[in-house]
Each structure stands twice: as C-alpha cells, then as structure tokens.
Subunit: 357 residues, 2 copies
Amino acid sequence: MWENGLTKLLKIKYPIIQAPMAGGVTSSELVAGVSNTGGLGMIGAGYMSPDQMQNQIREIRQLTDKPIGVNLFLPSNYTANEEKLHKAKALLQSVKEKFNIEKEPVLPAHEQDIKTFNEQLNIIIEEKVPICSFTFGLPSPEVVVKMREFGIIMIGTATTVQEALMNEKAGMNAVVVQGSEAGGHRGTFHTEEKHSLIGLMSLIPQVADRINLPLIAAGGIMDGRGIMAAKCLGAVGVQMGTAFLVCEESGANTLHKEAIINASEEEVILTKAFSGKMARGLNNTFIEEMSRYEDVFPEYPLQNELTKEIRKASAANGTTEYMSLWSGQSPRIAKKLTVRELMNNIVMDVEKTRGSL
Amino acid sequence: MWENGLTKLLKIKYPIIQAPMAGGVTSSELVAGVSNTGGLGMIGAGYMSPDQMQNQIREIRQLTDKPIGVNLFLPSNYTANEEKLHKAKALLQSVKEKFNIEKEPVLPAHEQDIKTFNEQLNIIIEEKVPICSFTFGLPSPEVVVKMREFGIIMIGTATTVQEALMNEKAGMNAVVVQGSEAGGHRGTFHTEEKHSLIGLMSLIPQVADRINLPLIAAGGIMDGRGIMAAKCLGAVGVQMGTAFLVCEESGANTLHKEAIINASEEEVILTKAFSGKMARGLNNTFIEEMSRYEDVFPEYPLQNELTKEIRKASAANGTTEYMSLWSGQSPRIAKKLTVRELMNNIVMDVEKTRGSL
C-alpha cells in the first residue's frame, strides 16, 4: 500500500521525508529517528562547514543503518552593495545595542561559498550518502554527471511549473514541490519571488500534468490528511518540516518549538528581514519593526549574516521577539511528540483518511 | 458514494458548488446548467440591483427545477476620504483619457447599499430561493432568524479559523473555506488581509479540527483531484470558480476566458487596484502601473466604482490590459468545455483518483 516509485527510489518504507531544515534543527537524533521509523531523515547542511557535515553524517551512522539524505544550498551569486549594507547595518544598530552585541558580522564571499559547496559534494560522495537534495538552484551538468556516476539520488526543489521543468531537464531523480504554505525559506530560484507563492492545491496538479519525475509535496502538511491530499493531487510523497521541527528529538530551540505549538495560522507570515530572501515564519517584533524596509536590505546571504548575532542573542536572552521562528501555515496542528509517536500517528491517520473516502 | 451531510442539506447530487462570481459571469445558462447536472448553480448577485436579481431568478426557474442559490455581499462600512478619492482619480485620469472616458463615477452610499441588501433578502424569501450565501461579512442575528424562519439554508465565507468560528456562532448552516489559491475577491472580513492568505492544504484541516459545520473548500480546485484532496483534508464539498468561468455557458467576457486558458500559474497575482479590496487575477498593464499605489486607493467599494468604466472600456476595445481578469491559481487546468462536459469529467476523475489511492 505504501510502496511506490519514490519509496523504491529512496529505499524507504514510507514516502515521508523530514525536511532538511538548516540552522541546527536537524539533530542526529531527529534524522536517525525519522530514518529508523521508515521515513527519510535529512541533514540540513546549508549553513554547515564541510567538517561539521562530515561529523554529523558519521554520528548519524552510529544511530541508524537506514538511508539518510543531505541537503545543500546552491551558492547564490550576489554583490555586496556598500550603500545597502551601510543602511541595513544602521537599521540593525539599535537592536544590536539592545542585546549588547559588539561583534561585527563577517560577510560571506561567493568564491568561498562555491569552495564549501564543492567540498560538501565530495564528502557526500566519500561518505556514500545515498541521497542529496538541493535548494536555491540546480547543480551544474558536471556535478550531476559526477553524482550519478556514484549512484547518488538527486532531489531538486521547485516552486513553480517552470522550475519543476528545469529540475527535470537538469537530471534530478525527483523534485520537491514547495507550496506557498511552506515554512522557512522559499526555494524559488528562477521565478520572481512574488509570483512564486502557489498553494499546493494548485501547484501539485499543474506540475503533475507536465513532468514525469516523482513529486514530493512540501508545505503545510502535518498529518495523514495532508499526505492523502497530496497523493490525490499527483504527488507520490511528502516533505514535512514544521511537524518534525516541534518533535522532542529536533534541535530547534525550545522557545521556537513552543511558539509554534501556541500559534495560530494568522501569525505565520512572509518576511525578508532575517536573510534578504523571502521566508515564512511566526510574526514578531523584529519582523514588524523591519517590515517597512524590505527593499532596503542587502540580498541573501548578506542580510542573513548581518542578523545572525541578533537572532542568537534573542534566543540566549530567552525572548522569541528577535529570533527567526520559521513555520509553515499549519501551526495549530503541531504537537510535541517523539518522532516515533508522530510517525505512528501519521500511518494510522492515513488509514483512517483512506477509509473515510 | 457522493451523498453526505452537504448534499443532503442542499438537496443536490454532487457536493460541487459553482462559485457565485459577480459581475455578469453567472449567466442563467451557467447557473441552470450546473444545477441540472447535479451540482449547485449560484447567482453572484453582489453587484445586482434587486430587480436584476429577481429577473434572473425567474429566468433560471424556466431552465431548471433543481435547487439554486444566490450570493449576497454584506454592505461594507466605508468613509469617503476626499484626499484619497482625489489622488486616486488623478492616478486614473491618464487611463480614462486613453479610452476617452468622460463619464464621472457615481460613488456608492452606504445607506443605499444597506437598502439594496435588505431588498435582495426579501426577494430571496419571496422567490423561495432555497440557498443563500454571504461574502464580506456575516448577516445580523435578525436576518439569520428571519432566513431560518423561511427555511433558507445559509452559507458563509471564511478565510481563517477565526472567521470560520464566527460563521458557526452566527448560525450559518455551512461555510465556504476560501484558500489563498482562490480567484477574485478575498472574502476576508475579520482578519487583516495580509494575514489571511492561507493555502487550502493548511486551512481546511485547521478549520475542520475546530468547527462542526459542513466545510466547502474553495481555491484552485478544478477537477476530481482537487475534490478528493479537499475531502481528505476534511471538507465535504467544493466551490469552483475559474473552472466554471471558462465554460461555454458562462457570461464572462471571451477575452477573459481566453486569457485564463492561455495563462500560467505565475501570472496570477494579488491586487487591490481594481476595487480597493484584495483580489486574485491575471497580471496586466493596469495592475503593473498601479502596483506602487496600493496604499493610496480609497477603500472598497469606492475604488471599484472609480475603475468601473475603465474595465468596461478595456473590454469594449478588445484589450485585456485594463480588465479585471479574476482567476484562481490553477489556470493551466482550465479548459473550454460545456458545463455538462466539465461535470462529467469531474465525476470520472473522482472515480479515477479514488481508484489510484
């Protein structure tokens, strides 16, 4: 009943992928927990150094012998606009003072990002990680050929039909279709951000009508109802972020988990204030204060570096008001469970939903 | 298999409601066609005079003896801000000159709107229309008592969990849950517009967990896949707009129908430029030109009156660039069919989707 093209491709029991949330959410316990209960656990390696990533892969291997995956961010090409940087720094100064932050941000450099990305790819090959997914773009033809040579399954991300077609053409083995409901950063890499906010009810069937890759639905899916709905629309699997983020094993800050569990869907909004790239999370003071300056911020990942210490200090001070509280649009369904409890609930829920049709 | 609480309540065969699109889309042929093929045809009476509405009800009664419904707009309370009106008129002047429009807009008056609404209610009672739905708010307790006395089924509209709870409390018999995917005006009446754009994948289950009314899913649903997905999420029926708008029997302008059929999902955006209230439709020159002035426009329905002649003139001149081309987020699935063909396709599609699970 659960077996399909995707479960066979990924060698997993249930077509349920734990979203590779970056920034420390994907603890080894979370990733291994998901893989051990029949889903696919994934490391969100977007902000990791090659060493950190390698260490975590090895740590997880001690906890599970099931398939796991790693997600990488394609290095974005950006130019440091001095005027924008100056303005953004000035805007953030009062917040920095509030938390007594003196550390100056170290701006990223594109060449270094590319070097890191290539090293990450080599570790994936070296560590024989069976599955690698990509966000914020597509790997080059050379990378695709190399990964394929080593038998690594590649999963891309798309937020529009056009981006899904580009994934297919680039040689991805499957594609995550990210709906507007999704928490965290938009994976948009080709379409203009404001034209890429398509709800899954619309996005999945329109993509399914045009591409032949296995589709993995992402955005707002929290339980068996969402999984069955995604299947009806043409997906063969789902990628769930928020539902796993609030799990006991997740590495997310407790304040973040509790904020989601207590939130309503109206509090989940879009902002570029934390990173320069559009992302979905719970509204707070920082987002409100910065909402007038969305066009002022330097582009991703520059703004991300500028706000890094602020987010850290907010958490350290026990307040959620200056943290990035990424969440999808279904916080009311979020429950504090262990991964095993969540997976069990989902499987039972799918049976129940199927029976009700 | 199709029978459920909603089909019994509305006395229809299939839980498929044709969205009561205002502005001439819901021709008598469309409404009767939907009811005659087992769905619920609805008159979008939002912009109609009581007489127009009464005439259409009588005309449709010649074409079908099945249940039909009427949708009314709750009169919005607004104040004519002279400065905003002046600015908006100035902004629109060049477009008016382009089309040689000399007619001065007649601004609506709230007292008149209330009078019209009450007359519409009386006609619904007089003509024994079995079903009445409401948009942009909820009827007063007095109206609810009166409608109930005459056995009229009342359907409200909600875009958030909070609004759905308000519908339940107000005594609605069912509620349309409008996702962010939906075309045309947002039905939002309580939540701030920018916090009310929830995708159906998130919205339906969160509402279903909290209210006991039959839920009707609206937004991006075009075929049996969407209907089955909505059922999985907790809805018992669907309301479809765009799919019926492009049907041969619909009264929408041919230019509008063709624009949708040729559009991609990326072209469907949100704008307040036509009416002062947020609505979803295809991007065009007018929306682009006005996008910088979203905060300048007077509120609904004032801006709607200011742009009325422009939209008409655009259509009359054979260009879509200044028309309001309302559409949901799934234009790629839109097909030019007769109502009967569409309904047949949906029923077959539902069987197919069910069989694939």
